[in-house]
C-alpha cells in the first residue's frame, strides 16, 4: 500500500505539471496573452508611462520574450506563489485570493455538509424502500434538482422570498459581521440553491450504489440472524456502498459546488472567489482570472489524491493498475 501511495503522489505531481503546461499553452496561444511589446503598447495607449508599463509587465505572471522564457517564468511564478499583479485590485493576486476565500467558504462548507448528509440519507432510504411512493417522490426530486438551472433557481427564489414576500435580503451585504445572525440569514438562499443540485446528484448515486447491496446474500443473512432493520441498513448496506460513493464526492460534487458557487456569488453579489473571477474576466485582468481558475483545479487534484488514498484504505483490494 505504501508503494501505491507513493506512486499516486508521484502521479499527482506529474498530472499537476501536465495541467499547468496545458494551461500555459492555452494562455500563450490565445489572442489575450499579449507578448511583452504588445502589452507595453497597450498600456501606453491607455495613457501609462512607457517605463511604468514595462515595470508592470515585469510583474505579470509568465512574462518574457520567448515562449520558453515565458513558460519557465510561469511555472516558477506559480510554484513560488508569485502569481502576478492584479491591476483591478492593485494588489498581488495572492492577496486578493487571501482576502476573498472566506466569503466563498462560509456558504460552500455548510452546503457541502448539508448535501452529503441529506443526499446519502435520502438515497439510502430510497434504495431500501424501492418502488414506494417515497422512492418515486425522491426520484422526481432528484431529476428536478439536477435539471434546475442554478442561476434561474436562485433568481426565482429571490423573486419569491425577497421581492414578493420580503423575508430575506436580495443581495449579500458585507456590512454585517461574518459570525452573526444577520449574515446567516443572508446566506440562507445561497445555501439552498447550492445544496439542491448537490443533494439531487448525491442521492441518485447513493440510491444506485445502495441498491447493489439491498438484495445481497449477506444482507439476507444479517436479517435472518435477527438484526434490526436499522442495523442492516447502516452496517451492511451503507458501509459497502460508501466506498464507491467517496469517489463521486470529490469528482462530481466538488465540481458542482464550485461551478454553482461561481454563479451564486455573481447573483447574490457575495465577494468570494467566484465574484472576483467574474469581475476579473470582465476587466480582462488575466493574472487574476488564471488564479481563480487554477484554485479549483488544485483543490480538485488534491481532492482526487486524498480520495484515492481513502479508497485504498477502505478497500485494500484496489491497486494502481485498476481504473
Amino acid at each position: 500500500m505504501k508503494a501505491y501511495i507513493a506512486k499516486r503522489i508521484a502521479w499527482t505531481f506529474f498530472a499537476t505539471w501536465v495541467t499547468l503546461t496545458i494551461t500555459f499553452l492555452l494562455l500563450d496561444f490565445s489572442p489575450i496573452s499579449a507578448a511583452g511589446a504588445e502589452f507595453v503598447d497597450q498600456q501606453v495607449q491607455q495613457g501609462m508611462d512607457a517605463d511604468e508599463a514595462r515595470e508592470l509587465y515585469q510583474e505579470q505572471l509568465g512574462h518574457g520574450d520567448t515562449a520558453w522564457e515565458r513558460y519557465t517564468n510561469f511555472m516558477v511564478g506559480l510554484a513560488t506563489f508569485d502569481w502576478g499583479w492584479s491591476s483591478m485590485y492593485s494588489q498581488p493576486v495572492v492577496d486578493v485570493i487571501a482576502n476573498s476565500w472566506i466569503y466563498s467558504f462560509q456558504y460552500v462548507f455548510p452546503a457541502t455538509v448539508l448535501s452529503v448528509i441529506l443526499g446519502f440519507a435520502i438515497g439510502l432510504y430510497s434504495a431500501t424502500h424501492q418502488y414506494t411512493k417515497e422512492d418515486y417522490a425522491a426520484t422526481l426530486f432528484a431529476f428536478t434538482g439536477i435539471s434546475l438551472p442554478n442561476f434561474w433557481f436562485a433568481i426565482m427564489l429571490i423573486l419569491i422570498f425577497a421581492t414578493m414576500l420580503g423575508w430575506l435580503p436580495t443581495y449579500y451585504s458585507t456590512d454585517v459581521a461574518l459570525l452573526s445572525l444577520e449574515n446567516a440569514k443572508q446566506l440562507i438562499l445561497p445555501v439552498i440553491v447550492l445544496s439542491t443540485a448537490a443533494i439531487a446528484s448525491e442521492m441518485r448515486y447513493a440510491r444506485a450504489e445502495s441498491l447493489e447491496y439491498v438484495h445481497a446474500e449477506f444482507v439476507k443473512t444479517a436479517r435472518a440472524k435477527g438484526l434490526s432493520e436499522n442495523q442492516v441498513t447502516i452496517r451492511h448496506i451503507f458501509r459497502p456502498a460508501m466506498v464507491p460513493l467517496i469517489t463521486i464526492l470529490v469528482g462530481d460534487i466538488l465540481g458542482l459546488l464550485f461551478a454553482g458557487g461561481y454563479v451564486i456569488e455573481v447573483i447574490f453579489q457575495i465577494p468570494g472567489l467566484g465574484l472576483v473571477s467574474y469581475e476579473a474576466i470582465i476587466q480582462q485582468d488575466t493574472p487574476l482570472v488564471l488564479a481563480t481558475v487554477l484554485i479549483p483545479v488544485f483543490i480538485a487534484i488534491i481532492g482526487n489524491l486524498v480520495q484515492d488514498i481513502c479508497y485504498t484504505i477502505l478497500d485494500p483490494r484496489i491497486d494502481f493498475g485498476d481504473r
Binding site: 498530472a15 501536465v18 495541467t19 496545458i22 494551461t23 492555452l26 494562455l27 490565445s30 489572442p31 489575450i32 496573452s33 431529476f143 428536478t144 439536477i146 435539471s147 434546475l148 438551472p149 442554478n150 442561476f151 434561474w152 433568481i155 426565482m156 429571490i158 423573486l159 421581492t163 441498491l211 469528482g251 466538488l254 465540481g255 464550485f258 461551478a259 461561481y262 454563479v263 455573481v266 447573483i267 473571477s277 467574474y278 474576466i281 470582465i282 482570472v289 488564471l290 481558475v293 479549483p296 483545479v297 480538485a300 487534484i301 482526487n304 481504473r323
Partner: protein
Amino acid sequence: MSTETHTDGTRDGHDEITFEDVDWEEFDGGLEWTRTRVAAYLTMGGIALAWLLDSLYGSRRDPLVDYQFGPVEFAPNPGNVEWLFTLTLAVLFFYCLVPLYQNPRRTKHYWKEFKKNKAAVASLVFLVFIFLVAVFGPFIVGRPELDLANAYQPPVFYSYVPGLEGGTWEHPFGTMQSGEDILQTVVIGARVSMMVGLIGCLMIVVLASAVGTTAAYFGGLVDEVLMRFVDIMLTFPTFFLILFVVYLYGGDLFTIILILGLTTWTATSRLVRSEALQRNEEQYIDAAKNVGASERWIITRHLVPNVSNTIITAATLAIPSLILYEAVLAFLGFGDPNVWSWGRVISEGRGDLQNAWWIATIPGVFLFLTVLAFNFLGDALRDALDPRHE
C-alpha cells in the same frame, strides 16, 4: 442493412461468389456501397461543400434565397453554426432515424421497452415539439427586434394592477425592457439550445468513440497515454476549463459550441473504453482477426457498432449539461452578444424582478423543462438500450 451492392455492374447477384473468391484486400479497404450510405455521403458532402462555398464566396449580408409565403418569410442566411447544425441534422437523420426505419423489428422492441417509462414518453413528445420550434419557429414567428414603444408589456392574463388593461395576444409572453417580444426570444433560444445540445452531442460521440475504442483495441502504451490524458482532463473541473477557454478564445456561438464539445467528451470516452474492452474479448473480434480484417475494419465495423448503445446513452445524458453550460455562459455575459440565448434573456430580466417578473421567469421555465426532458430521456434510453443495466 440491405445487401445490395453496386461496386460492380457486370456481376449479377452475389450467389456465385464463394468464400475463396472474395478479395479480402479489396473488401477490407472499401465500404459496402448501399443506397442509404451513398445518400448519406452525398447529403453530408453536399452540405459540407455548400458550407465551404458559402464561407468562401457568400456575402455576409444577403440571404441565400428569399421567399415569402404569406406571413412566413424564408430567407436563410446561415452562419457557421447554422451550417454545422444542418450537418448535425443530416447525421441524426441518416444514422438514427434511417436505421430505425430499416429495422422495424428492433425499433418495435426498443419502443416497447421505452414505452414503459411514461415520463420518458412525455419528455420525448416535449422535445420533439421544442425541436420543431427550434427548426421552423424562427421562420414563422420572426426574430426579436428593438421596439421601445412596447417596452414592459405584461403577458396575457396578467396586468400590473387588477382592473387595469393587461397583456394582449400580440405579445403572449410579454416584452422586455427594450420591447423585444419574449415569445420570439424563447423561440430563438430554443434554436440556440438545440444547436448547442445536438452539435455538442455529435462532437462528443465522434471524439469519445474514436478515443475510447482506439484505446481499448490497441491497449498497451496507446491506451496508457490516451487514458492518462483523459484522467488529467477529468481532474480539471469542466466548468472552469470552459470558462477559461471561453475567456481566452470565446466570442461567437460557433467557437463556444466547439469549446463545449472539445472539453466535455472525456467522461464518455472513458465509459466507451471500458465497454469496448469487454467487447474486445468476444469471439467475433477473434473471428474477424483470423480472417485477416484490418484494425480499422475491426474498430469501425465491430467495436463501434457494438458499443454504440453506451455511446448513445452517454451522449444523450451529456446534452443537458451542454445546454446548461451554454445558458450559464450566456447568463454571465460571456456568450455571443448577437444571439438571444435563454440564459441571456434570464440575465436581462434579473434587474427587473420588481416590475417585470416574466422576463426572467418564462425563458427559465423552458430551459428547465428542456433540460429535465433530456435527463428523463437519457435515463429511459439507458434502461431500454442497455440490457445489463437495472
